[in-house]
Amino acid sequence: MSMLDATRAAVAALARREGVDYCDARFQADEVEQLYLRDDEVDRLARTRRAGFGVRVLYQGAWGFAAEPGAADDLAAATRAAEAALATARAAATVNTVRVRLAEEPPQQGSFTTPIERDPFTVPLAEKLADLRAVIAALRSGADPRVKSATARAEFRRIDKAFASSEGSAVEQHLWHGAAGMQVTAADGDVLERRSDPMDHGGRVAARGYELVGSLDLVGRAAALREEALALLTAPPCPAGATTVILVPSQLALQIHESCGHPTESDRAMGEEISLAGGSFLTPERQGRFRYGSVHVNLVADALTPGAPATHGWDDEGVPARRTPLVSRGQFVGYLSSRETAARLGLGRSAGCLRAENYARPPIIRMINVSMEPDPKGPTLAELVADTDDGILMGSNKSWSIDDLRLNFQFGCEVAWEIKRGKRTRLLRRPIYTGITPRFWGGCDAVGNGADFEMHGFLTCGKGDPMQTMWVGHGCPPARFQGVEVGSGA
C-alpha cells in the first residue's frame, strides 16, 4: 500500500457526498529529534514521532476540518477524519452567508524530496551528543567565573506527506529540516548578557541534514562569542536618539519576518487573524499603489531556494512551489496567499503558502521563504560600515514586539557597535530600536550585495488558533537605515 492510498480513498468517498464542493486529505508523519545541552547537563533529548490524517472539506461553501492519528495505511482513521470534517463543515454552513471559492489550480502529480547529504537519524546519537559537547567545552574554556551558562543545541526533522484532492491531485513529499546553534550567558552582579550564534531562535535553520552542524563551525566560533558576551558586561548601554542603523542578517531576518512577512499574509489583510495576532496595514486596496519602502527594498516569497527552510514541492493544498514578489523597488505588489484568498482578492493564482504544522492542524497561510534581495551593485558589509560617518550596527535578535497592524515595532538585539567615521568603535549593550514599518523601510538607503547574504530562519513562528508553529526562511544581506530611534530601554 502506498502512502497515498488512504488519502485517495478518503477523498473519493467524501467527494461523492451531496453538498461537497471540494475536499482534500493529507497524511503527515513527523519525526523530530531535539538535542539541547546546557553545560554538563542534558536539557532535552527527545525523539518524537507523530502521524495521522488531516481532512478538509468545503460543504456548501463552508470549510470543515478534522484530524485523526494513525499510520499511513490506516484507512479507518482517514475515514473517521473525513466524516468528522464533513460534520464540522455542515455546522459552519448553518452560520455562514458567504460561500468560499477557490482559485483555479491544475491538478498535481509527483513527489519531492529535500536533497540532504547525511541523514541525521542514522548518525549515532553518541556522535551527535559528542559534537554538541565539544561546542560547550569550547564556550566554557578559559574558566571565567562570569560565564554562567553555555548551551549547544541541534534539532532535526523528517516530514513525510501524502496529499490527495477531489480535483485529482496526488503528491508525496519527504522534507528535511535541521537547526543548530549555541549560546553563552555571562553575568556580573545584576548585569546579565547573552550571545548566540548564528542567532537565537534555534540557531541556523535550513533544509539540510546532519551536514548542517559541521558547516557552522560552532567550535571555531565559540571563543569569540564568549569574549563578546563578557565584553558586553562592561559595555555602555546603547545611547538614545535618532541615528543611522546598519542591521546585519541575524537581526534583519527578524525585521523582515515581523514587518514584511506577517503583514503580507493575505488572511491577515482580510481580517481572518484578528482574533489572535491582528490585521495588517497592507490592505487589499493598497496592492500595487502603496510605497512600502525605498527603491532599494525588494522582498520576495519563494519556496524554491535550495536549502532554505521553507523550500518544498507543494504547499498543503497542492499548489506547486513558486516565487512571488511582495515588494518591488519599494512598492507593495504582492501577498502570501492560498487558493481561497487568491480568489477573493482576484490574484489569479495562489502564491502557494497554505501550510499546516502537523496532521492535526488545518493548513493556514504561512510565510514560506520571505527574503530581501541583495543589490548587485551594493556594498559589502565592510564597505557599508566604511561609508557610515555616525551610526550603530546591530545584530542577533533578542526581543520583538509589533502592533496589531504591523506598524509600530520595537526590536532588541544582543549586541551593537558604535560606528564613527567609517569604523566600528565601542561595543554597546542592550540596543533596541523602534519605528513605524513603512517609514523605517523608507529610510533604507543601502542594501548589501550578495557577499554577506545569509539565509536564516525560524522553527517556531506562531500563528493561528489553535496555535501552530512553523518553519520559515528569511535570507538577506546587511542593510542601512536612516533616522532610526534607538536606545537601551533604560
Binding site: A46, A87, K398
Partner: protein, 484 residues
C-alpha cells in the same frame, strides 16, 4: 467528536492497565526503570472572522512519552499511539545508553508517587473538588453544532451594533495518565471551553472591542453578554485621540494584567531562569521587590470557582500551591523533578510543574495555573483615584525579554484604551507603545480589585490566568501607533 457519547477518550481503565503493565517490567526492555506518560483528547475549534465561521475543526491528538533509566542516565522518546509504546521504549533505552558514553552528572531520579492525603483531610477535599470541577460531560460533548450555536449567539449583538465579529469558540477535552516502575499511577481528565469575541466597527477598523473567557463548564459561557461587552468597547473607540508618550497612571483590566503575569512566568517563575540567573526572583528570596499589595501564585487545585485546575503534571506529581511573589516579596520557582535537582533540591521538592508533553519549546518547569491575589477595591474606586491617566482593556504582543532581571518589557495597547480624567472614563486613545520595568511598575500600586477574571492564554487552548484589575502609577509609554 461531534456526536454525543462518541468521545475519543481512552479512559482510565484502558490507559492505566496498558501503562502499568509496561512499567512493571523494565528489565524486559533493557531498562532499570520506566515512566510512561500519556496526554490526549479532542480539540474542537470554530473561528470567526468577518462574521463568518472561517475555520472549524475537530482534531484528535495523542502523545505518549517514555522515560527509561539505564544506570544513572535517563533517555526519552515520544510517540502518538499506545501501539508504538514498545518502539518508544526501545528508543528511550537507546538514548539513555548513548548518554552514558558522555561525562556528566547522573540524571535526576524519576519521580516518586505523591503520598495520598488522608481521607477527609483538607488536601484530599481540595483534590476531590478539583477533579470533580475540571470535567463536565456536557462540555465534552458540545461538538461542532454546539460551537456553531455559541458563535451565532455571539454574532447577533455584534452585528446589531454595526460591527463585524471575529473570535473563536474552542472546546477541549483532554485526559492524562501516568504510570511508572516507582509506583506512580494517576489519571485525570479536563474539559475547557474558550470564547473570544472581537468586534470591529464597520466604519472605523481601528475601533475594536474584545471580550474573552475560558471555563471548565461551557454552560457558564454567556455568548450574548460577552459579545455586547466587545461591541460596546468598539462603539466607544471611534475617533480616537493621539496622546504624546510619557508617564501616565493606568487602570489595567484583567487581560492586561494577565499578559504581564504570563511574561513574568515565562522569564522568571520556572527553574530555567534560576539556573542561569536571569529570573527576576533569582537570589532575591524574601526581598521586597514590589508593593505589598501584589501576591502572585500558581495553584493547580485553586478552590476559586473561576480558576482553571489541573490536578497533576505529566510526571504524575500532584500540583502544589507555589507563591511566586508574596506580598511583594520574592518567592520560589515552580519546579519539575529535573528543575528541583538542578537547583540543588531533592527530587521530592518538585511542585508538579513539568511542562506539557507536546510542548516542544519550553524548557524546565512551567507555571500553568497562575493567579494574582484579589485586593479590596472596586473597579470604580480605582478609576476614582486617577486625575489623568489611561484605562487599558488589554495589551498586545508584549515581549518580556528586554532585561529579565528587571522584568523590563515592551508592548502595545489594543482593543480598548481610554483617557481617564477626574476619575471618569472619557475619550478613546490611539494605541500606545510602552516600555516599562514591571517590578518597578508593581511597586507603584494604587489599588487591586476584589473581582478577578480568568483570561485565556494564547499558547494553550484550555489555559487561563486569574487576574484582578490594577491601578499602577506612572507607567511609561514610549510611542504611539499610527496609520502608517
Amino acid at each position: 467528536m461531534s456526536q454525543p457519547g462518541a468521545l475519543p477518550l481512552l479512559g482510565p481503565g484502558v490507559l492505566l492497565e496498558a501503562l502499568t503493565r509496561l512499567a512493571r517490567e523494565p528489565g524486559a526492555h533493557g531498562a532499570d526503570e520506566l515512566e510512561l506518560s500519556f496526554e490526549g483528547g479532542v480539540l474542537g475549534t470554530s473561528r470567526l472572522a468577518r462574521s463568518q465561521l472561517t475555520q472549524t475543526g475537530d482534531v484528535v491528538e495523542r502523545m505518549l512519552r517514555v522515560r527509561a533509566r539505564v544506570g544513572d542516565r535517563v533517555g526519552a522518546a515520544h510517540v502518538a499511539s499506545l501501539d508504538d509504546a514498545p518502539a518508544a521504549i526501545a528508543r528511550a533505552v537507546e538514548a539513555a545508553r548513548a548518554l552514558a558514553s558522555l561525562p556528566g552528572p547522573a540524571a535526576p531520579p524519576l519521580p516518586e508517587p505523591t503520598p495520598p492525603d488522608p481521607a477527609g483531610s483538607p488536601g484530599a477535599t481540595r483534590l476531590a473538588t478539583a477533579m470533580a470541577r475540571s470535567f463536565r460531560g456536557e462540555t465534552a460533548e458540545l461538538g461542532a453544532a454546539g460551537r456553531a450555536d455559541l458563535a451565532l449567539r455571539a454574532l447577533a449583538p455584534v452585528r446589531a451594533a454595526g460591527c463585524n465579529a471575529a473570535g473563536v469558540v474552542a472546546v477541549a477535552v483532554r485526559e492524562q495518565a501516568v504510570a511508572s516502575t516507582r509506583g506512580i499511577k494517576s489519571y485525570h481528565r479536563v474539559t475547557s471551553a474558550k470564547l473570544d469575541v472581537i468586534a470591529t466597527r464597520d466604519d472605523d477598523d481601528r475601533a475594536t472591542g474584545r471580550a474573552s473567557t475560558v471555563v471548565h463548564d461551557a454552560s457558564r459561557l454567556d455568548a450574548a453578554v460577552q459579545a455586547e461587552h466587545a461591541a460596546e468597547t468598539a462603539r466607544r473607540s471611534a475617533d480616537a485621540i493621539v496622546l504624546p508618550p510619557g508617564e501616565y497612571d493606568v487602570v489595567l483590566e484583567p487581560p492586561a494584567v494577565a499578559e504581564l503575569m504570563e511574561w513574568l512566568a515565562l522569564a522568571s517563575f520556572g527553574s530555567q531562569g534560576f539556573r542561569d540567573g536571569s529570573s527576576c526572583l533569582c537570589g532575591r528570596a524574601g526581598e521586597q521587590l514590589c508593593d505589598p499589595a501584589i501576591t502572585i501564585y500558581d495553584d493547580g487545585l485553586d478552590p476559586d470557582p473561576d480558576a482553571l485546575v489541573t490536578p497533576t503534571d505529566p510526571e504524575g506529581v500532584r500540583k502544589q500551591r507555589v507563591v511566586l511573589i508574596d506580598a511583594g516579596r520574592a518567592g520560589t520557582p515552580v519546579l519539575d523533578t529535573a528543575g528541583a535537582v538542578s537547583l540543588g533540591h531533592p527530587a521530592s521538592a518538585a511542585t508538579g510543574h513539568a511542562g506539557a508533553l507536546d510542548d516542544s519549546w519550553a524548557l524546565g518547569s512551567v507555571a500553568q495555573n497562575l493567579a494574582m491575589a484579589a485586593g479590596e477595591d472596586s473597579f470604580d474606586a480605582l478609576l476614582g483615584r486617577v486625575d489623568r491617566g489611561l484605562y487599558i482593556k488589554r495589551f498586545h504582543y508584549v515581549n518580556g525579554l528586554l532585561d529579565t532581571r528587571r522584568a523590563l518589557m515592551t508592548g502595545m495597547t489594543r482593543s480598548g484604551c481610554f483617557l481617564i480624567e477626574q476619575g471618569r472614563v472619557g475619550a478613546p486613545v490611539q494605541n500606545l507603545r510602552w516600555t516599562q520595568g514591571i517590578l518597578a511598575a508593581l511597586g507603584r500600586v494604587g489599588g487591586v480589585t476584589r473581582q478577578r477574571r480568568t483570561v485565556p492564554v494564547w499558547w494553550s487552548a484550555g489555559g487561563g490566568i486569574l487576574a484582578p484589575a490594577l491601578l499602577l502609577r506612572r507607567f511609561r509609554f514610549t510611542g504611539a501607533s499610527s496609520r502608517d
